[in-house]
């Protein structure tokens, strides 16, 4: 069994400060972002003009559907449009 003294417990508690609030909020939005991305890609597949506008400015397209254009999201959208 592991034993702890107060000093050790304090050290271990200090190792896990809160992550920035914005990071956590963005990660919690992932399911919403996924739904929006699916709809965006579906529309781009059906509408060539819309697809061209999305490809021309991925960040703007994401913002337009309420999704924060973080690098991982932009990369994901780029890959899906290329498929």
């Amino acid at each position: 069994m592991t034993t702890y003294n107060e000093e050790r417990l304090g050290e271990l508690l200090r190792m896990l400060p809160p992550a920035p609030v914005g990071w956590v909020a963005a990660a919690q939005q992932l399911p919403f972002a996924r739904i929006q991305l699916d709809a965006l890609v579906q529309r781009a597949e059906a509408d060539a003009a819309y697809r061209a506008s999305v490809v021309a400015d991925l960040e703007l397209a994401l913002r337009a559907v309420g999704v924060e254009p973080r690098p991982a999201v932009i990369d994901h959208l780029r890959k899906r449009l290329a498929q």
């Binding site: 508690l13 190792m15 896990l16 400060p17 809160p18 956590v24 399911p31 973080r70 991982a72």
Partner: protein, 188 residues
């Protein structure tokens, strides 16, 4: 107080809720592991803030996409730890700033991750204490707040905070020493 410290749902129950599409379960899962992921990126691999944020989002994106491939719902914790480690190494290797991460650096990072695993176990123990203890320990140790700030925020005399911290650490120690060790488990 953060939702993270809600110990009513086990890791496995949270994963099951996420698979069922429950947004509250996803929010709680992110909250529960956010500190761990962030700490691996910033402490074990010492990534600057913008890179750490990229890793953080990448890890939770992968978790969301690949929850279905997790063999055991109980294995979420080691799986997230491994995913974060791999994302950090990928970023360092692909960024061009570091062509290859040297083996001693990886070993040093793994030693920090082992300590962070222990820290996460302690936090899990914290979740089983009363809200009063959770709050005072989190504010003092994790948020680095002074006695004066804690006293003002919680409306308690600053002179009583040291004894309260000591009492709560005693409860935390009892909680942790009464637990069975978490067995290591495979993930994907």
């Amino acid at each position: 107080m953060a939702d993270w410290l809600d110990a009513t749902l086990s890791d496995a129950e949270l994963v099951a809720g996420c698979r069922a599409g429950d947004p509250d379960a996803w929010n709680a899962l992110v909250e529960r592991f956010s500190r761990y992921v962030s700490a691996i990126a910033t402490q074990a691999f010492r990534l600057p803030e913008h890179d750490a944020e990229d890793v953080f989002q990448d890890v939770f994106t992968r978790v969301y996409e690949r929850l279905g491939s997790l063999r055991s719902d109980d294995a979420i914790r080691p799986w997230i730890g491994q995913l974060t480690r791999n994302c950090c190494l990928d970023l360092l290797r692909l960024s061009g700033r570091v062509v290859l991460v040297a083996e001693p650096e990886e070993q040093a990072a793994d030693e920090v991750i082992a300590r962070l695993d222990e820290a996460l176990t302690v936090r899990e123990g914290l979740a089983h204490l009363g809200p009063e203890c959770q709050e005072v320990l989190d504010r003092f140790f994790c948020r680095d707040e002074s006695y004066r700030t804690i006293g003002a925020e919680l409306d308690i005399p600053p002179g009583t905070i040291a004894s309260r911290i000591s009492r709560c650490l005693g409860q935390l120690r009892s909680e942790l020493e009464g637990r069975k060790p978490t067995p290591p488990s495979s993930s994907e």
